[in-house]
């Protein structure tokens, strides 16, 4: 795991401030500045709670508009941070959460706990999206795992998608459960940050078992799951089967899996499909082109 606890919160706040100032009214910005100031200076907890809830009343809920520079700045401040799909109330709530004093870890975590356990759906989404920006990231592990267990797809997605936290902090067990659940609920796997780096044999086995179950019930599986498969002979057998299916999308995904597999037999298998092998070797077929062309990813 690649732990990052060294990012600068004040830079993140500055970026949020800049983005908001272009989009919300002067009054709303003043309101937010005042609240975040009071909170960072240790105002009573109830001010934090009420301000956090009240954000949409003052800021509205429109989509945030970000330039490519903003996005680049975000990724430079906190690698993996991608607020592209955030709304202004989510930005406001994140700013409020980041203003919370955190030197007294116990008090900080207790206060956050109160908000998490009483939050409504929109609030939960804002909180989980902000996880990678919160101080003491390693302390939020159980909370993030809780978010993955959520029955609300939107809440699950706030943890799992476009969020660097899981790849950095989840152990294999939690990580694998998250991927499997994403497959189950139909969330796009290409939005899972650094997912390829966290591929592992156990996950490959789980996904192939899942695919077999689906096939037995005459159901299809998302081609994206082959991304994590290719570690054992059993998995290669599954890939061989997919390569024979009359579905170019499935074939391409299985071919990519073979190309990325550490097993020499995988290369032999791929060689039986020269057109796919050639496309991969020439760089015309990659996971990212696949996500764009076959899954509609906007990359």
């Amino acid at each position: 795991m690649n732990l990052r606890t060294d990012y600068d919160v004040t830079q993140a706040i500055e970026l949020l401030h800049n983005c908001l100032s272009r989009q919300i009214s002067h009054e709303a910005l003043i309101w937010l500045e005042e609240k975040t100031n009071q909170i960072s200076q240790g105002a009573m907890q109830r001010l934090f709670y009420t301000a956090f809830s009240a954000v949409p009343r003052y800021l509205g809920k429109q989509q945030l508009t970000l330039s490519t520079q903003d996005l680049r700045a975000a990724a430079a401040i906190r690698p993996g941070w991608n607020p592209q799909h955030w709304s202004v109330d989510q930005v406001g709530r994140t700013w409020i959460v980041l203003s919370l004093p955190h030197a007294d870890i116990e008090k900080y975590l207790w206060t956050l706990e109160q908000v998490f356990t009483t939050a409504d759906v929109r609030e939960l989404i804002a909180l989980y999206q902000s996880l990678p920006l919160m101080p003491h990231p390693e302390k939020h592990y159980a909370r993030a795992a809780e978010g993955v267990r959520s029955n609300m797809t939107s809440v699950f997605n706030a943890v799992a998608l476009r969020n660097p936290y899981p790849a950095e902090y989840f152990d294999d067990l939690a990580w694998n459960q998250m991927i499997l659940k994403a497959v189950f609920v139909g969330s796009p796997l290409y939005l899972i940050h650094n997912s390829d780096r966290r591929a592992n044999p156990e996950l490959g086995k789980m996904l192939v078992d899942y695919a077999r179950e689906r096939w037995a019930a005459k159901r299809s599986v998302t081609p994206e799951l082959w991304r994590f498969v290719g570690y054992t002979d059993t998995e290669l057998q599954a890939l061989a089967k997919v390569l024979q299916v009359d579905d170019i999308v499935q074939q391409e995904a299985a071919a990519l899996a073979c190309a990325h597999s550490p097993l020499p037999q995988a290369k032999e298998l791929l060689a039986r499909y020269p057109h796919l092998q050639a496309a991969i070797l020439q760089g015309d077929l990659t996971w990212s082109s696949f996500s764009r062309d076959r899954l509609g990813a906007d990359t």
Binding site: Y49, T50, S53, R57, T117, T118, D120, M152
Partner: protein, 301 residues
């Protein structure tokens, strides 16, 4: 005609009630947090109750074409368990400003004990601090004195009467409430509160300014259709339609839209999609989901 029932306890009503209410033209409801029939023994059950008001209940109503709002507060009866009351006061700031929360309420007096007074005042202070409306429950016993004292306290804590709704009024209290500039709400509830026919006479006598009709329907023998039925009786007994509209829809809208959490566009633009899930749960039990493009069919003119 469209109706608002600005005081109804849907947690103790069935989904069937939502379906019938919608058929009768109820487009929005406000659910004041209140007591459940037996005392709660820990603040945890308040927490879950508040969470269901802002979460599941809101979702369930939306699935039947009704917009659900709520008010958050510690009710008068349960203020008498002081240890519990103090813990609930700690919870209120976590819920008071959430989306769809239109007021602090229902608060006020039951037995008019010192503990009730203490927590009533603390909640008025919170409302003032958060710039929120207040919904007041007037007591069943000693109602006139309870209503007067409630209004005194509101003034004392700096709340404008136009931002306070006094509920469960009757012939004895209406005059003072209106004269002092507060909203006067009436609960049409069999036997214990206000009756349909009496309500007609009140509107005949006092007109329609700042008067609001609601059902307070809850787990008791009560009627979730009290608002549309009262409207019908008023029309039958010669109350002008404009007055009926005011007391069964427009006044509640005017009073609660001051919260900026309650707006006609919420229900005029909403659609039903019963395929949606809440925490993985559906309101359906094997039925085919209804998916509706527009809300036109709910307007019963």
């Amino acid at each position: 005609m469209m109706f608002i029932d600005p005081h109804i306890h849907m947690v103790s009503r069935t989904t069937y009630d939502y379906m019938v209410m919608r058929e009768y033209g109820v487009v929005a409801v406000i659910e004041p947090s209140f007591w459940l029939g037996q005392p709660r023994t820990s603040s945890g059950s308040f927490k879950d109750y508040f969470s269901s008001l802002i979460g599941w209940e809101r979702f369930r109503a939306s699935q039947f074409g009704i917009q659900h709002y709520c008010t958050i507060g510690l009710n008068p009866k349960e203020a008498n368990n002081e240890a519990l009351a103090a813990a609930v006061m700690e919870l209120l700031p976590l819920y008071a400003c959430k989306e769809g929360v239109v007021a602090i309420g229902e608060i006020g007096y039951d037995d008019m004990t010192p503990a009730e007074d203490k927590y009533f005042c603390q909640q008025l202070e919170l409302a003032q601090e958060l710039d929120m409306l207040v919904l007041i429950h007037t007591p069943h016993r000693n109602k006139k004195a309870g209503a007067s004292q409630s209004m005194d306290r509101c003034i004392e804590y700096g709340l404008a009467p136009s931002r306070v709704i006094i509920d469960h009024n009757n012939e004895e209290t209406v005059e003072e409430v209106l004269a002092r500039g507060f909203w006067a709400a009436f609960t049409i509830y069999p036997h214990t509160k206000m009756g349909n026919a009496r309500m007609v006479e009140i509107v005949r006598q006092y007109g329609c300014d700042r008067i609001i009709v609601d059902s307070s329907a809850d787990w008791g023998v009560s009627d979730p259709l009290a608002v549309p039925k009262t409207a019908q009786l008023m029309l039958e007994r010669g109350i002008p339609e404009a007055h009926v509209k005011a007391v069964c829809y427009e006044n509640a809208l005017a009073a609660y839209s001051q919260s900026h959490q309650f707006s006609e566009s919420d229900w005029l633009t909403s659609t039903i999609d019963q395929r949606e899930l809440y925490y993985g749960n559906s309101v359906l039990r094997g039925q085919t989901p209804v998916v509706e493009a527009s809300r036109d069919q709910i307007l019963i003119e």
